[in-house]
């Protein structure tokens, strides 16, 4: 499942991401590697971005990008 379908407030683990070089590079820079655990914090309304917690760092991801990050419940 993608980040968009993940339950809010639960810990999930990044499995892999689909997408171009630019996107994966930026995600990696923010420490979002496959295998890392993240928590979905909140969704902005009207199809806005998703805010996640990556080991203490809060990151907002646009829906387009969030939909390309595959996660699994820990």
């Amino acid at each position: 499942m993608s980040i968009l379908d993940a339950p809010k407030g639960k810990k999930v683990r990044i499995v892999r991401y689909h997408g171009g070089k630019g996107v994966s590079h930026k995600l990696r820079q923010l420490g979002l590697f496959p295998g890392k655990e993240i928590i979905i914090l909140r969704y902005a309304p009207l199809g806005g971005p998703v805010m996640i917690d990556a080991q203490g760092r809060s990151v907002a991801l646009g829906r387009g990008i969030a939909s390309r990050v595959e996660v699994e419940v820990v």
């Binding site: 630019g22 996107v23 590079h25 930026k26 995600l27 990696r28 820079q29 923010l30 420490g31 590697f33 914090l41 909140r42 902005a44 309304p45 009207l46 199809g47 806005g48 971005p49 805010m51 080991q55 203490g56 760092r57 809060s58 990151v59 907002a60 991801l61 646009g62 829906r63 387009g64 990008i65």
Partner: protein, 637 residues
């Protein structure tokens, strides 16, 4: 000696720099690029050293121009020692770049910043152990409070003098084996990077560096390919991923060994997002905060503008009184000079100053990324993402800081579109035209209608531009920094930097432009100017005389109201203009060509070509929009 400051965004690097930088600091570009850095002289143990604030990057992969320039700079012997600023509350994230710096084999010191923040979330760090593992002196500090800074620079100075090198990070055995093979292969290749660092960068896939090596020793291309292929085969991942994964693993491991996680104190700052990013109240607060922000900027700006402008008006009158014939060439030129100077000091600065200070406060608190978060969905509707909202909001005060604010967008395409549409946001000066003409004579509802129409046109233009300009919106990936209480020093310094840029780079043009227009006026080109603009005034159904105020309005937007009175021979506009003409004229003024100061900032930030593109586009939009407004107004009046 030269000390380089480096760190990831939001690590407090700029705060540290602002704490030490005097007003003599200088900004510059890396040769041949638009990547900027700031340098300042600092006194350390009786010696004067240069401190360079390098652009904040998350990594040193060399995939974007800023990163490439930083790597080149760090390894070119131009810096004697690097200060790596780390956010202690996010140690494992920051250490990834520290590992990259270790690879470069340059003398370094770590500034372990935000110790108070780490304390707050219950993190204890064994500084001594970490320092021993890395072979790097580590100074714990709190930059916002100025704690540890003195010690940091003394330590950096010593490391720089002794050229003390850090330990080398060791990767998994298979990686080390490949690195050895590559280093053997690279023997004899000259590079500013050390052999091991070069080998790592090649594996990581830094294209420019690879190209450089292949040019010097073509046979490396095939062997690099072979190595990458077998690495991919063994690990099931591309070499680039493997290297990044290794670094991240190393950083995690280091952090785990030195961090003791205690109890986390939950304070109101942790709860703040629950309110400020709430699906409903978040927007209420957004409107409230922006309202207070603008209200303060306007009232402060107004307080400053009135006495300043009075002063300049008196100066003009005094100047004129010195001459028998005030219409002569010399007094006219002098007046133009005064007006050019006053345009900067009297009109732009009174608003720009409180504006930039307010902006700095919002920035340092960490609210701007939250605005981007809240507005992302809406901005997507016009083909942009959340970050573009910041320049648009700022544009309502003055377009100059709005254009400067487009720097937060990494993508050139998005910067252009955001800059283009921000110039159509009615700034304070154009607001005076809307209020002085439309609200005063036709009522507030008409003025409101013009504002709503303006927003609609901006959204529409944004949509069209995002279709026309090639490329694709990358979508939002944005770190939300922890809320912080801004310090006076940082805010004032930052505002000063930006004001200085305006004074040095845009203002001289404003003065020259003012003089040129005075000369044009003196040789009585008004007639020709009106004729030049006549096709436009004819289509819009406006009197021919609007040519001059429109052209002078490019210099300063207020002039299109002030000079309109002069041109039409009456400040009582209702006797010389019909309501339809008032609306058409105002709509045109709101959209057409940005003022000279804005144009100069666009030229500086995005280049002359984009400046002319924006000039052309806004003229077209202004013509179409005012034609449309004329049609609609004719129904009502």
């Amino acid at each position: 000696m030269r000390i380089g400051l480096i760190g990831q965004p939001n690590c407090g690097k700029s705060t540290l720099f602002n704490q030490i930088a005097g007003y003599k600091a200088d900004t510059g570009n890396f040769s041949g690029t638009t990547v900027t850095f700031t340098e300042s002289k600092v006194r350390v143990v009786g010696d004067v050293v240069d401190v360079v604030d390098l652009p904040g990057t998350y990594s040193l992969a060399g995939t974007n121009p800023a990163e490439r320039e930083v790597i080149k700079y760090l390894t070119s012997n131009e810096v004697d020692v690097v200060v790596n600023v780390l956010d202690a509350s996010q140690l494992s994230h920051g250490l990834v770049m520290t590992v990259e710096l270790l690879e470069l084999e340059i003398p370094m010191v770590i500034a372990l910043n935000m110790m108070d923040e780490a304390d707050r979330i219950g993190i204890r760090i064994d500084v001594k152990a970490l320092g021993e593992m890395l072979g790097v002196p580590i100074i714990p500090m709190i930059a916002t409070k100025g704690r540890g800074i003195q010690k940091l620079f003394v330590q950096a100075y010593q490391v720089g003098q002794h050229q003390q090198l850090p330990n080398q990070p060791h990767y998994s055995k298979d990686i080390e084996r490949y690195l050895d093979v590559l280093m053997e292969e690279l023997r004899g290749v000259e590079s500013h990077l050390k052999p091991r660092a070069l080998a790592i960068k090649l594996l990581e896939g830094a294209e420019e560096i690879i190209q450089d090596v292949v040019n010097k020793k073509p046979e490396t291309e095939s062997s690099l390919k072979t190595i990458k292929k077998s690495l991919h085969h063994e690990r099931g991942q591309t070499a680039e991923w493997v290297i990044n994964g290794e670094r991240s693993g190393l950083a995690d491991n280091l952090a785990k060994q030195v961090i003791k996680q205690g109890k986390r104190h939950i304070t109101f700052r942790d709860r703040l997002d629950d309110i400020l990013l709430h699906p409903f109240f978040g927007y209420i607060f957004l409107i409230l905060i922006l309202y207070v922000f603008f209200e303060l900027v306007y009232s402060l700006g107004g307080l400053l503008e009135t006495p300043l402008m009075d002063l300049f008006t008196q100066m003009e009158a005094w100047l004129l009184s010195l001459f028998n014939n005030s219409e002569a060439f010399i007094p006219q030129i002098l007046i133009a000079l005064v007006q050019g100077v006053s345009g900067g000091i009297g009109i732009v600065l009174p608003y720009l100053m409180p504006f930039l200070i307010g902006l700095g406060i919002l920035e340092d608190i960490g609210y701007l990324p939250r605005v981007a978060f809240l507005m992302d969905a809406l901005m997507h509707k016009i083909g942009l993402h959340g970050k573009s909202i910041v320049p648009i909001i700022l544009g309502f005060g003055c377009n100059v800081p709005a254009i400067m604010a487009t720097r937060i967008l990494e993508d050139k395409r998005e910067r252009f579109i955001s800059a283009a549409i921000s110039t159509m946001v009615p700034c304070a000066a154009r607001m005076s035209v809307v209020f002085g003409l439309v609200a005063f004579y036709l009522g507030p509802v008409a003025a409101l209608a013009i504002y709503l129409f303006n927003l609609f046109v901006i959204a529409f233009t944004g949509r069209i531009l995002s279709r026309l300009v090639p490329g694709e919106s990358t979508g939002l990936i944005l770190e939300m920094p922890v809320y912080r209480i801004p310090t006076v020093r940082t805010v004032v310094n930052k505002a000063w930097w930006r004001i200085r840029e305006f004074i040095v780079e845009a203002w001289p043009f404003l003065i020259v432009g003012s003089v040129v227009l005075a000369i044009l006026n003196y040789i009585d080109v008004a007639r020709y100017l009106n004729t030049l603009v006549s096709p436009l005034s004819w289509i819009l159904g406006l009197p021919r005389e609007v040519g001059v105020p429109l052209i002078f309005g490019i210099l300063r937007k207020e002039l299109s109201l002030v000079m309109l009175g002069q041109a039409l021979g009456s400040m009582e506009f209702s006797s010389v203009l019909s309501p339809v003409q008032m609306i058409t004229y105002t709509v045109f003024v709101v959209f057409y060509i940005p003022c000279l100061a804005t144009m100069m900032v666009i030229r500086k930030e995005l280049g002359g070509k984009m400046m002319w593109q924006i000039v052309g586009m806004t003229t077209l939009v202004a013509t179409l929009a005012s034609l449309f407004a004329r049609g609609v107004a004719e129904i009502f009046f």
